[in-house]
Symmetry: C2
Subunit: 591 residues, 2 copies
Amino acid sequence: MASLTDMRFLLHDVFDVSAHFADLQLAEPIDRAFVDAVLDEAYRFTEGELAPLNRSGDEEGCVLRDGEVTTPKGFKEAYQTYIDGGWAGLLGDPAYGGQGLPGTLGILLEELMATANMAWTMYPGLSRGCMHALEDHGSEEQKQQFLTHLLSGRWTGTMCLTEPHAGSDVGLARTKAEAQADGSYRITGTKIFISAGEHDLSENIVHLVLARVPDAPSGTKGISMFVVPKIDLDGTRNAVVCGAIEEKMGIHGNATCVLNFDGARGYLVGEENQGMRYMFTMMNDARLGVGLQGVCLAQRGFEASSRYAQERLQMRSLTGPKAPDQPADPIVVHPDVRRMLLLQRAIVEGGRALVYHACMLADQQRQHPDEAVRGEAGELLDLLTPIVKGFLTEAGYESVNAAVQVYGGHGFIREHGVEQLVRDGRITLIYEGTTGIQALDLLARKVLMTQGKGLVQLVGHMKACAQSCEQSLPELAAPLANVADEWAALSMQLGGRAVENADEVGAASVDYLFYSGYAVLAYMWAQIALAAQQRLGAADDSRRAYLEGKIQTARFYFARVLPRTLMHRQAMEAGAACMMEVADEALLAAM
Amino acid sequence: MASLTDMRFLLHDVFDVSAHFADLQLAEPIDRAFVDAVLDEAYRFTEGELAPLNRSGDEEGCVLRDGEVTTPKGFKEAYQTYIDGGWAGLLGDPAYGGQGLPGTLGILLEELMATANMAWTMYPGLSRGCMHALEDHGSEEQKQQFLTHLLSGRWTGTMCLTEPHAGSDVGLARTKAEAQADGSYRITGTKIFISAGEHDLSENIVHLVLARVPDAPSGTKGISMFVVPKIDLDGTRNAVVCGAIEEKMGIHGNATCVLNFDGARGYLVGEENQGMRYMFTMMNDARLGVGLQGVCLAQRGFEASSRYAQERLQMRSLTGPKAPDQPADPIVVHPDVRRMLLLQRAIVEGGRALVYHACMLADQQRQHPDEAVRGEAGELLDLLTPIVKGFLTEAGYESVNAAVQVYGGHGFIREHGVEQLVRDGRITLIYEGTTGIQALDLLARKVLMTQGKGLVQLVGHMKACAQSCEQSLPELAAPLANVADEWAALSMQLGGRAVENADEVGAASVDYLFYSGYAVLAYMWAQIALAAQQRLGAADDSRRAYLEGKIQTARFYFARVLPRTLMHRQAMEAGAACMMEVADEALLAAM
């Protein structure tokens, strides 16, 4: 279950989302009441329709028979409700049937959906990436042909990148595209790990496929993008067939498909050999979405385990009984249980803040009237995207594992639903680019190649925030300023070493990603604590307790989580030599 | 697949296990040839019979029908082979049919079995705990009645501690035991999470059950231990029935049972109200076994992912192509992939060394002729047991997650078998006492309550080892000496704070456990590196490469893993206040 209270606090009290929307060029103004109404409505849908299907969907899974995939019971009906509610076109261009709302509203819907049921949410989730790519790069005709149906929700979309021999290295893709006399292409090849690749929710499925035209340059420069509809525009069944669905660790409710394209008819998007660039339009959005999944799973785990910790009675507090009339104290009295709960809370709320921050930057980049603001927002967003994806999925995975640990043996069995969060969550560290890929993107492309453009900006914001903390939250001010300075210095240092040896980048990258994540989360928690502090005076008792909880969690984060930067710094400073000097054979287990 | 090469290197080159056995009071001397023969024979059995059932066992799981549990295909036959091979009685007292071999040989067998098939290995694994308890605390009659059949393997055993409301807090157990005129007891109650609680492998199952006699003192002081055979001594079916088997995240091949005791006939072990003390005899042994499971799973993950990293071609090295004739380089060239492989290797081999070290201490404690040696070994073993269980399971879980990550998307699907390692491994952090319970045991009981007796000894050994490193491995010497000193100093500091506030112990405990684990693993890696270094001169080229791999992994461990102590130290120093000042309601997720 999502927490509307916490979502609203972030949106209104920390980030003042109404002011944010007021600054954008929107067709219709969006005020606080509208945001809250969308939240309420979406919450009713997600908790009412999607949450009840989360565990049953995991247990039933998807079934492939004769090329057709049947989704778990209730998935199809829930999808119809989703369409009927008008949710599918929330963000799209009104010219093609969309409602033209800014992306931040879309992420709120996505958050509520993914918190209720991650596997189900991936069906419409993949459509959104598809819509973005077509909006940005499709022809007018393609928008009429495909986008309108995606925005109505009657059709869904996929992203077809991976092939058996081409995973992180998309440039190795071999799927062929041969131009036909009528302007279309014949697509031939095998794509794997295609989420929502085949299912029974929608009338048609629009595959966005990366393929190579004859004589295309090798690598990513020779990749083109095609729309390949399952049912072709003339109503005939296209030659794309689901050959298998994968048996996997989690997200059983979503069909992960092997798709065989056997001379399927496809339509070129944009120009030939520009497919990777277009694909990044989808991918950046999708990466924010996957980072959000980490937060959503963590929210579910935190909610469940925090409730359990208040109910489960085991042992006495070391400082004397806290519930003397009971046979034992609730486990929430034990310091280590509190540590696990606060850790989850710090990840959930700090992570949510980071996702919202990134989405508001995306809004600004697309819809702010001031070009300078658009540019700065774009730089910051570029920097934050791999942190959102790479760090929040790792942190989210740690968080759901902590939820299981609070439950003890009861967490390992299926009954309470927390082990599913671990199984579902494991994929978030992998798809849309593994943690290692995100880390390289962050350090090599977003920091070193830009000479730290976004980073310098962010570090400036962090130090300004630290200054704001000095009066009312001095215990956060110095550590925040320090980590900001150290982050900048470390980045410079790594840049210097990278010039001498490119392997230093790869060797430091994942530690750099974690370092950056903890630094950014400190910035988020400082903002949350500041907002809470400012509202303490006018608050009644119950609100006061709520606000104090925020400040205390911020303190916990700074005292017990932020010090992790120490070990990441030292690991980075150790350099590449200790990994590169090892012979390849010593990296193979002895027999 | 286990690595006999690595196991032998540790046993003979690092720990000189033959000299160790020569020092013990054994019925028959054990030389190197004997150890190697046992390893070879056990390896043939485990790889031939057990490994092929690991994945099928996971997929089939166990089935309960009319109170009877059917294990996955092949499990029963493999168990028969196990008995026929004489493996069941390896360690037991020869007076009751055992072979009287020292525990370290038992752990080698257990390692090979658990590496091949963890779920299967739990069936005989539970028997061993049962045997120990009966050997140490059973009457002569009980040994004849039960132990002989356990040692032959015709019967298996269980440990019945947990009840729905009594998990970590065993003292809350309510199962009743009422004395009968004939000296037996009637046992009534429900036990849950009973591994191997019901199955079709053996002729009979011997349950060791914790229960309370009428008017017993409350808490753990009122717990007694009973033997409750499934088939009673007179051949009738006893009133203990499997009411359900749990649906769970992993170890599907092992039946996790709800056992209902409905006035079942039980036989008191030892004296009334002494059950907890007896149970600890089993538990300490079992805890070493669970720590070993962490290492075994990590070994499987390392072996699989290290092979995959040499075969899988994706992207080019940042320093230029390493396999120019291939479409891409093997992923082992990428620094971050090397990091993930070396991390696994450091955990696997360092963890294995720690388990062997602990088992050799257990041998000394039981079978060394010199009382002073027995005493010191016991102190060290007490200290190391929670580290083996708590730290090596956590490290093993990190390791198998790294294995999945090396595989990327291919790690999330079932095909390669690595996701199963994560699902199976998750329980090792929980059963036989969660990480939090181990951490409290370590800090409160093993360090503070003994005034650091074992710790002072261990720190002394570590510093002596650091001194040995000074000439040939100076890069390890200083960090090892420093972490030893710091560990001692931190322990003193925590002791001081604990006097003022008992919650400081709980607040620091898990960070203390991790700190201790990394410190001890540094000690293990220094010993491994020293042994390798000493053998370099006489080695041929291939052996030289093997030995250099050990030294390089040690360097990696010191450079990139040991710095984690920094963050754990800082987290401990932050103290309990940031967790205890938070209102309980702030630890409940907002709605």
